[in-house]
Amino acid sequence: MLLETDTISQLDIAQIRSDFPILNEVVNGKQLVYFDNAATTQKPRQVLDALAGYYEHTNANIHRGIHHLAEKATAEFEASRRRIQKFMNARLPEEVIFTYGTTDGINLVAQTYGRAFLKEGDEIIISTMEHHSNIVPWQMLCEEKGCVLRIIPINDAGELLMDEYEKMLSEKTKFVSVVHVSNALGTINPVAQIIEKAHAVGAKVLIDGAQASSHIDIDVQALDCDFYAFSLHKLYGPTGVGVLYGKEEVLNAMPPWRGGGEMIKEVTFEKTTFNELPYKFEAGTPNIADVVASKTAVEYLEKLGKEAVADYENYLLEYATDALSSIEGLRIVGTAAEKISVISFFMDGIHHQDIGVLLDQQGIAIRTGHHCTQPLMQRFGIPGTSRASFAVYNTTEEIDRLVSGLLKVKKMLG
């Protein structure tokens, strides 16, 4: 069945598929086709084994215990930090803060850096294609501090208007927070350029890497961003683990956020002194097992090779773009020149929810709705889209099933 796809890529897709037990699930009588990877990817056996293995052989609370398991758990937790440091080419392991996800990381920055250093009249720049997670934390900050939120517009293809961005920049600009890759459109933004221009006016920059991290190489030193946030669950890893990268000097200047254990040096009722990086920002018992298994997820992806994965995903994107374009009345939303393997579309006269329900009946999982990007949907004048997003274990045969599934939807609703 997978022969055709196999020969296209240097990756052994059949072998990769066998690593993901969930792909054998039967949904409504049909073998599952999972095209909701932009929401979360499935997890390979290796990650599942790492999770179970941690609880079977290692589980203990970290950093303080002196017994064998506590030391082992601490070593594995910190090994994961160093592995992720390498994955994103951070200068120091202390610059890698474990969070609960991308949203958590952005909130951390808004609530610490933002509250400490931004003041009335300061401008924060985001873009039209932000996920609500990179809108709402800044709106909350603006409300509290009297800052002004400015929005980079986009063109009809779903690309940022860089000229407009440059016009917005001034000495008032204190923070820029933009998405590396749009979850709803797949657009890859020119973040290096965005960062450089922001730094030229003295603004700090956060990059929301939730969608980017599993598809493109992340090098935070080359990008020179001040912050970079992503989630491991979109990268074949467990849910509940995020990473916030921050430059050491910026993180050191920031006040802590959540108070509790781990993040303190000394506590008296009169005064508490805070721990060093990264623990200053990791109050409470962290999500140890999932952090440990995240190392396995990163290693899994890097063993396949990010470039080979990206090449194969691009191949799927091109194949799907051609195939879906052949359906009459189907329009793709988001046609940027630089895209990852995400296709948002709508069909004339058919509500996206009906598409989702009828594809689900055929065992095909896609995402429908506004994708937590309501302002972006408003920009396109639509209530929502249907979105198919591909990962390394998907095949052209599955895309064929999507196409015939959509033709059936059209027939039933026509």
């Binding site: 409504n28 929810q353 009906d354 329900v357 009828l358 009946q361 709705g369 506004h370 039933m412 609703l413």
Partner: protein, 140 residues
């Protein structure tokens, strides 16, 4: 017909279908046949927001029976809505408030009432019963 007789009738109707396509085509047909809700009733007040599709529900009572009218922008949800209207409309507030809706589950459509469906149907059922309770206390 009582509410339960109507529910049983729908269950019988659906028993005729042996595959998902026929079942959903029937739902889609019911959606298409549902009398359009007058624009005047498509108010912000009558809207039951799901994450993905919108459902409007209008209720009125003549003092004895409650009449429901509804609509949705998604056709499958509209079909499901039309079944709920068919089953509950024209009954007393008390009957509506106390009814046990079992037909969706028997037909195998209960997943549409699950919260994850984000289609506002679960909220719609709750709202219909709330109308029942409200009119009941008015009558009482």
């Amino acid at each position: 017909m009582t509410i339960n007789e109507k529910q049983d009738e729908l269950i019988e109707d659906f028993a005729l279908f042996d595959d998902w396509e026929n079942k959903y085509e029937y739902i889609i047909d019911m959606g298409k046949q549902l009398a359009p809700l007058p624009e005047a009733y498509k108010t912000e007040e009558n809207i039951i927001k799901g994450c993905q599709s919108r459902v409007w529900l209008h209720a009125e009572t003549d003092g004895e029976n409650v009449k429901f009218e509804a609509d949705s922008d998604a056709i499958i949800v509209k079909g499901l809505v039309s079944m709920l209207v068919k089953v509950l409309s024209g009954h007393t507030a008390e009957e509506i408030a106390q009814t046990n809706l079992y037909f969706m589950e028997k037909i195998g459509l209960h997943q549409h009432l699950a919260q994850t469906r984000s289609n506002g149907l679960a909220s719609m059922v709750k709202q219909m019963k709330t109308y029942g309770l409200a009119y009941q206390s008015l009558n009482g």
